[in-house]
């Protein structure tokens, strides 16, 4: 039996097909967010992996920012519960999840079964989010996916004092014109994200073990600095970006067996 979870985020769409609630059969990511062809594309892409048809899916559960607009969904759930279940699937021992998405930062505490216990999210501000990193990568003229590797080559960090995306943008521009090393600048940008995210995580209470989900978890520079800030190891699974979609597929399976 197959269940399908789709996470329609603000900057990317992710999908996972799960077999019998236990085995990942296919996964797909499309770097387009809600309101674009992203949701349709990711559906086609994930079905194509093993040549499946939509009719093969027993249940489709949709999450993420665009969860209300996907026509083929059997049900929808908040990205909070989906990330909690998804990370629990990947790392059952995790009790604290930090998710940095396109426009949201979430700090969640979960129990042994992956049920959400409590959460805090960022206020209506892009500081520390994936969007913040997108903007910074654009100004520095590097690919956002390369930021992690670049930041790890820093010899010293350039201090970015503004958390506001717009002000940080002009601060980065002024540092660029002062000819600082790009690697040091990227490390400074990562530090500002890490500090912002750490304070949210502290506010929610940190219980080990800690994992990160969401696309930014693939950025090794941010993860390393966040580990420093919260003074704990952070587990990152290679499927971290798919945690929301995976959780959605798990929850779809559970809904069938209620």
């Amino acid at each position: 039996m197959f269940t399908l979870g789709i996470d329609i985020g603000s900057t990317a769409c992710k999908a996972v097909i799960l077999q019998d609630g236990a085995r990942v059969e296919a996964r797909a990511v499309v770097p387009l967010g809600t309101g674009t062809s992203g949701a349709g594309d990711v559906l086609q892409k994930v079905l194509a992996v093993k040549n499946r048809q939509i009719e093969d899916m027993e249940r489709i559960l949709v999450t993420g920012y665009g969860r209300f607009t996907f026509a083929g969904a059997d049900s929808q759930k908040s990205e909070l519960s989906c990330h909690a279940r998804g990370v629990n699937f990947l790392f059952p021992s995790v009790r604290t999840i930090i998710d940095i998405g396109g426009q949201d930062i979430k700090a969640m505490r979960v129990n042994a079964k992956g049920f959400l216990e409590n959460f805090v999210m960022n206020d209506k501000c892009a500081a520390g989010t994936g969007k913040f990193l997108d903007v910074m990568a654009r100004i520095i003229n590097v690919k956002v996916n390369d930021l992690g590797e670049i930041g790890l080559k820093a010899t010293e960090e350039v201090n970015i004092s503004n958390t506001c995306t717009v002000f940080a943008e002009s601060e980065v521009i002024s540092k660029l014109s002062a000819a600082v090393r790009i690697e040091d600048l990227v490390a400074g940008i990562h530090r500002s994200v890490a500090k912002r995210v750490a304070s949210l995580a502290f506010r929610n209470g940190i219980v080990p073990e800690v994992a990160m989900s969401g696309g930014v978890a693939l950025n090794k520079g941010v993860v390393a600095l966040l580990e420093e800030e919260i003074k704990r190891n952070i587990l990152v699974h290679e499927d971290c970006q798919l945690a929301g979609a995976l959780g959605a597929a798990v929850l779809a399976y559970e809904e069938l067996h209620k």
Binding site: L80, L116, M121, K124
Partner: protein
């Protein structure tokens, strides 16, 4: 503190709501009429000893209440823009203050009619800083711009004790006494102490009645959608000492008791979850709040804001009155005291969670939440969720964010209920 707020009612308004609308309209009408006769009209902060002007028969209106009503009608945006633009006030100050200072400026033009309800320009100001200190600067600006006096009662906060200390009560009582003499001199009217006692008694009858009504919502399922109480707060702010408020509350009590007897409710869907709403309403977004709460079967059965106007004291005892005005606003209390009150309410009203409005304007009411949620979670075990908003500034609120936070909270509450029921 608005009235007639929220979604457009599909059903006929209950009698009590019609009475509220009539009472409010009359208070505004009377103030305009007094002004037209050349009599003095005042503007007052929301928790000020209004019994004194009521005794002297001097009309007083309440900018915070007025701003809430204007915001609920989506008419506040233009005024806020005027405050930030032409008047050069920063967007960081309280949106009630921005909206009201803009209104005070606009109404100097007799042709201005856009805001609703309009207020006559004041001749004096009544200010008690028991809710926040920003009120002082706000009223100072009004006083300077309009060239009118302020009658000020300085209230000390109670961060280190649960009830106001003796010296604070004496300090405030002395100011109330002086204010009475000053008001006699200012208005040229003689203060009638017997009438004052009657007004105080009426004020207490009304406060207690409202308290009794709210307590009826402890029942599960609740007879009232908690948001409905917002519609009656104006009675306590504008007319706490008036008999017409007693009539409204008696009517409301009858209606709520009828709901209980018939097992009906004003909550527009099945009540699966009960939450405590913390903070001021998002007046311009009340419709979206209520619709979303309804869709997720969440009744915000109680909130601390509607009970803030129950100024509870012993009639005839000025010390007791001083103490009540020093502590009625929870903003004057410590985080511990407030959160213990909230935890009691959560237990008494059988709430499954707490939904906290992180209000960009009212820092005093909001900052308790960040530490307070741990106290709540520890004492009551219920989950808390925050969302961003503002009491009047529509730009702060995000519909998608509100829904995600509420949905996350509902999913936790649902799981806990299922776990408890095996």
């Amino acid at each position: 503190m608005g009235e007639q707020v929220g979604q457009k009612p599909k059903r006929e308004l209950p009698r009590s709501r019609v009475l509220v609308a009539e009472q409010t309209a009359k208070i505004y009408r009377d103030a305009f009429a007094a002004k037209a006769r050349g009599e003095k009209v005042g503007w007052s902060t929301a928790i000020f000893p209004q019994e004194i002007c009521e005794t002297l028969d001097i009309p007083v209106l309440y900018p915070e209440n007025n701003a809430a009503s204007i915001s609920a009608k989506h008419l506040g945006g233009e005024l806020i823009e005027h405050a930030e633009g032409a008047m050069q006030y920063p967007s960081r100050i309280c949106s009630y203050a921005r909206l009201n200072m803009a209104l005070a400026d606009k109404i100097q033009d007799p042709a201005y009619s856009k805001a609703d309800p309009l207020m006559p320009s004041p001749d004096f100001l009544l200010l008690a800083n028991n809710s926040c200190t920003q009120l002082m600067k706000w009223y100072e600006c009004l006083s300077r711009d309009l060239g009118i006096p302020i009658f000020f009662i300085d209230c000390l906060f109670n961060y280190y004790e649960e009830k106001p200390a003796k010296h604070k009560i004496t300090y405030i009582r002395k100011q109330i006494e002086k204010y009475i003499w000053d008001m006699e001199a200012f208005s040229g009217k003689k203060f009638d102490w017997d009438k004052f006692l009657e007004v105080q008694k009426r004020s207490q009858i009304n406060s207690k009645l409202f308290d009794e009504i709210i307590r009826l919502n402890m029942r599960t399922p609740a007879p009232m959608s908690g948001f409905d109480f917002f519609n009656y707060m104006s009675c306590l702010v504008l007319a706490r000492g008036k008999e017409s408020t007693t009539v409204i509350f008696e009517q409301l009590k009858k209606e709520v008791e009828e709901h209980i007897a018939n097992n009906t409710t004003t909550f527009p869907s099945e009540e699966k979850y009960r939450v405590h709403w913390e903070g001021i309403a998002c007046w311009p977004n009340l419709g979206h709040n209520l619709k979303t709460l309804k869709n997720y079967n969440v009744n915000a059965v109680i909130n601390g804001y509607v009970t803030a106007w129950n100024v509870d004291y012993e009639p005839g005892d000025l010390d007791s009155m001083a103490s009540a005005y020093a502590s009625s606003s929870t903003n004057s209390l410590s985080t511990n005291t407030i959160m213990n009150m909230r935890a009691d309410t959560i237990e008494n009203y059988n709430c499954d969670g707490m939904l906290c409005h992180v209000n960009r304007s009212c820092k005093m009411m909001t900052f308790h939440i960040f530490v307070g949620r741990h106290i709540i979670e520890e004492r009551t075990g219920v989950p808390c969720a925050n969302f961003d908003g503002d009491q009047s500034d529509e730009r702060i609120y995000s519909e998608a964010q509100f829904e995600t936070r509420l949905q996350g909270l509902v999913e936790i509450m649902q799981h806990r209920k299922e776990a408890n029921h095996g």
